[in-house]
């Protein structure tokens, strides 16, 4: 534990901890704090209103309410803490033994303890009270019994997950006995979850104690207890409502503070649970301030469907801001298929999602650039200027999208037909019957053998290939001008993959020029088959652009060359996948962290041709002739 952790931890649990400590202090110092004897009656002044002597007034027997509240804390907390401690000791030992040794000892400890869980807690408590009579001892006993299984289960779970970890193995290797291992090596490492369980238990114990006392079956009068005070004040609530509200307030605030403390403990123990949201919001605010939009240059040529210029997308994370798309410009022409290629994390999918306005929210933001779309009715629309309702009219109608994993991209609880009908009706005023008929025609069109049946089936009833066909049918339902296909075949096996690619090609051929495709993939084999033009992305930037024949013949960027070298050559096709992969030249190194600042060429750390100059300034994306672009200083040497 570093001191930084301690500080952050303390700040997070600050006020609940302070509140709990305060309540504990009140309980401990009750004799000093209470102005009166909590059980001394003063019947003449029953239900007396607040005065200097009795700041909160007097109860139905004339006892001082403030003193009873203060002593009530003592009673509640001592019962709760004592029973939680007893339950913890027994439960932890049971869990440790059961989890560590397993087998018979597991049966004897955990399963026996679990019997308690057969009964609703309150009922078990009442049963024991019947047998032993009410009182503090009975209460403590009952509560201890009730909370043993909780501790046993938590400990058991933690032991199972820690017992084979290195430090435990190490202790065992040193020849330590089981007891040493259990209490010396395992227990200290599961303190966190047990602490959480302990605070939970104390809160529940207070709830149960006050409940039983309220029923008159817990703490025996005249001892002060919040539950008993509420019980007593209930009869006089019309005359003296405050006498009822004070103990309620004390009870609720105590339980609330402990619960808050428990939540903070849990956050501290489990780093995943929202602990780092602060960083996220700070970063998000910074990104919102970055937004700057320059007007796009010039008009869009008539044959261009999509013109992206200087697109910048940021993804906010708690630890930093990722430059997911960094100044990306390209165009997609009518009827053309443009492949966007790159490793995962290169920003290729984010480019597609930015165009659609579907970035993860609230983390993803387009902070600059222009995305212009030529719509069906011949207008040019700036997508980055549109608000959500206007964007909605574009999605599905003008630009449709299909995704990598058809199983998770279709909603498992709705029928395939319903999901397609929904897509149609989002943009067309069609009644259900007409939309169903259209959906059926679409399914038939994408080559689904029994479209009528498919309509009524759930996604999990279809094969992967059929699911992707259904996805395509859904995407085509409004005859979009542009289809963004995000790794549409990656999750499918090779034969199905070929069929889906063939389907997409056939659909595009049917009405030449009607639909353009932006094909996002990491698979160069697919690129060779599908694309007219290729954009290679690396670290959120386009590093090379060329038409498909030339890029395969002569790459003008070292990264593209590396990608090409890592594709199995046709001569290797007979080899098994694994052995083929082993023989391939892979690009050394990994994709850079896009949250960090960088100077110079993003590929430099992995580039065999890198020079000092490459690390000085960002290489520009230069025109290298023949409609090609490259972001490499040494492109001419390739």
């Amino acid at each position: 534990m570093t001191s930084a952790f301690d500080l952050a931890f303390l700040r997070r649990i600050g006020w609940p901890l302070a509140a709990v400590c305060l309540i504990l202090l009140v309980a401990v110092l009750a004799p000093l704090l209470a102005p009166h004897d909590p059980i001394r009656m003063d019947v003449v002044n029953r239900l007396g209103t607040p005065n200097w002597l009795h700041p909160l007034g007097q109860d139905e027997y004339g006892r001082d309410i403030l003193s009873r509240l203060v002593y009530g804390a003592r009673v509640s907390l001592s019962v709760a803490l004592l029973s939680a401690t007893i339950a913890a000791c027994i439960g932890i030992v049971a869990g440790l033994i059961g989890g560590y040794f397993g087998g018979v000892s597991e049966l004897l400890t955990l399963r026996v303890v679990d019997i308690v869980l057969c009964f609703p807690p309150m009922l078990l408590a009442l049963l024991v009270v019947t047998m032993l009579g009410p009182g503090m001892e009975t209460l403590t006993l009952v509560l201890s019994i009730l909370f043993i299984p909780g501790f046993a289960r938590v400990t058991y779970g933690e032991v199972l997950s820690t017992k084979n970890q290195e430090y435990v193995e190490a202790t065992r290797a040193l020849g330590a006995g089981s007891a040493r291992i259990l209490f010396g090596a395992i227990l200290p490492n599961i303190v966190g979850p047990i602490l959480v369980q302990f605070s939970l238990t104390v809160a529940s114990a207070i709830v149960l104690e006050s409940g039983l006392s309220f029923l008159g079956l817990g703490v025996v009068p005249p001892a002060p207890s919040w539950g008993l005070m509420i019980r007593g004040a209930r009869g006089y609530m019309e005359q003296a409502p405050m006498g009822l509200l004070w103990p309620c307030l004390a009870l609720v605030l105590t339980i609330w503070s402990i619960n808050q403390l428990c939540d903070s403990f849990r956050d501290a123990v489990d780093p995943r649970s929202g602990g780092s949201t602060r960083g996220f919001w700070t970063n998000l605010r910074a990104v919102l301030g970055m937004s700057s939009r320059a007007a796009p240059s010039g008009a869009v040529a008539p044959e261009v469907v999509l013109a992206v210029e200087g697109l910048k997308t940021r993804i906010v994370t708690p630890t930093g801001v990722v430059r997911a798309v960094d100044d990306v410009s390209f165009q997609v022409r009518r009827g053309e298929t443009v492949a966007v290629v790159g490793e995962s994390g290169s920003g290729k999918s984010m480019t597609g999602l930015s165009i659609m306005g579907l970035l993860p929210q609230p983390a993803g933001r387009v902070i600059g650039g222009s995305v212009r779309l030529a719509t069906k009715d011949g207008r040019i629309v700036e997508l980055t200027d549109l608000d959500e309702p206007a964007l909605r009219k574009i999605r599905g109608e003008q630009v449709a999208m299909i995704f990598q994993e058809p199983m998770t991209s279709l909603n498992p609880v709705h029928k395939v037909g319903t999901q397609i009908v929904e897509a149609i009706q989002a943009h067309r005023a069609m009644d259900n019957a007409a939309a169903q008929a259209r959906a059926k025609a679409l399914l038939e069109h994408v080559g689904i053998p029994d479209p009528a049946r498919c309509l009524g089936e759930f996604p999990h009833q279809l094969s992967g290939g059929m699911r992707q066909r259904a996805m395509i049918a859904m995407a085509l339902s409004c005859e979009p001008k542009l289809l963004i296909a995000d790794e549409p075949t990656t999750a499918l096996d090779v034969t199905i993959q070929a069929q889906i690619l063939e389907l997409l090609r056939a659909l595009q051929r049917e009405h030449p020029g009607s639909m353009s495709v932006m094909f996002v993939t990491h698979n160069l084999g697919v690129v060779a088959e599908m694309a007219d033009r290729v954009l290679v992305m690396y670290a959120g930037q386009i590093v090379e652009e060329a038409d498909v024949a030339t890029i395969f013949a002569r790459p003008r960027h070292p990264y593209t060359r590396g990608l090409l070298d890592s594709v199995p050559k046709p001569s290797h096709a007979a080899d098994t996948d694994a052995s083929a992969r082993r023989r391939l030249a892979t690009i050394p190194g990994t994709v850079p962290n896009l949250a960090l600042d960088r100077v110079g060429c993003a590929f430099a750390p992995r580039c065999a041709m890198a020079l000092d100059a490459c690390r000085q300034g960002d290489p520009p994306l230069v025109d290298v002739g023949g409609g090609r672009r490259s972001r490499c200083l040494r492109w001419s040497e390739l």
Partner: protein, 316 residues
């Protein structure tokens, strides 16, 4: 199928354990069970009466024989007779059980109606003011014991505003409207805490669902945010929420004890409290037995329902 059988067997085993434990409960207490049974009123019973009862209950038989007799009686639906009025316990329990179940069901429906939409709203507005206020309110509500909620409801709505009666019961057949009026407050008292539980689950489930691919697909189709949230998020988040709510129904069986007491609701739980106060052993044991059975059965139903809704559980 296998899972189904295994799960049913476990529940049967639990029922057996409960039965045995409750039998033993009478015998492990120090003292003579017959004397205990008779000492209800707080006066020491006459030796002749004790002897007679020992005889009648077969307490002179060996323990194993008593145990067998106990099981046989239970199999015939005999839970013994109450000391208070010499009525068969089972009759009173059967008469009151539907009322308790009605209360729980009403509370669950209310909790779902309140917690689910608010949970979805908080999730959609994650991290913003709406979410923080709602989440804070929920965590506060979780800290208010149900009898405090109940008592304060009585204070405000019955004593001060005089909108509703402080408690009581009218059979549905006598006066349906009055019946609902009486049901409203106790059901609401339970649902305040329960709604907070539902809220938390719904918020978590919706947050989880919002990140699923099909939500992106739905948005890519151009659906309105409302439709996306209702049909593709909340609909999917419903399953886990309802399941966990079902799990809570079991623990509610115990939670009604306090509410029935506060509102004078004549369910099994208030029968239990009365019996505990009178130390009416047969009645206490009878109620605990029946309610525990119900508790186990309810948990079984929830587990099976869960398996039905989620095919992965069934095949695991």
């Amino acid at each position: 199928m296998n899972y189904l059988i295994r799960r049913c067997l476990i529940s049967l085993g639990l029922i057996y354990v409960v039965t045995t434990l409750l039998f033993l409960a009478l015998h492990i207490v120090p003292g003579d069970p017959a004397e205990l049974l008779l000492s209800g009123g707080g006066v020491a019973p006459a030796p002749e009466t004790v002897a007679e009862l020992r005889d009648r209950l077969g307490l002179n038989d060996p323990l194993w024989k008593q145990y067998i007799d106990h099981l046989v009686r239970l199999a015939h639906g005999d839970l013994g007779t109450s000391f208070q009025d010499d009525h068969p316990v089972v009759e009173e329990v059967v008469r009151r059980l539907p009322r308790t179940l009605e209360l729980i069901l009403a509370a669950a429906v209310l909790a779902l109606a309140i917690g689910l939409p608010l949970g979805a709203l908080a999730a959609v507005r994650r991290g913003r003011a709406t979410d923080r206020i709602l989440s804070g309110f929920a965590s506060f509500n979780l800290s208010v014991p149900v009898f405090v909620t109940g008592t304060i409801l009585v204070l405000v709505f019955a004593q001060k505003l005089r909108w509703v009666p402080a408690g009581g019961y009218t059979p549905l057949a006598t006066d349906p409207l009055q019946h609902l009026v009486f049901l409203l407050m106790p059901a609401f008292a339970i649902s305040v805490g329960l709604a907070a539980v539902v809220f938390r689950m719904a918020r978590a489930a919706v947050l989880d669902t919002l990140e699923r691919d099909w939500v992106r697909t739905a948005r890519a189709k151009g659906l309105s945010p409302r439709r996306v949230v209702v049909r593709h998020v909340v609909r999917n988040a419903l399953t886990p929420v309802v399941t966990v709510l079902g799990l809570h129904m079991g623990s509610l069986l115990g939670g009604t004890v306090l509410v029935e007491y506060v509102f004078n609701w004549p369910g099994v739980s208030s029968l239990l409290v009365r019996a505990v106060e009178q130390r009416d052993y047969p009645e206490v044991l009878g109620v605990v037995l029946v309610v525990s059975f119900l508790f186990i059965l309810l948990n079984l139903v929830v587990d099976l329902l869960y398996a039905l809704l989620d095919p992965r559980v069934r095949h695991a």
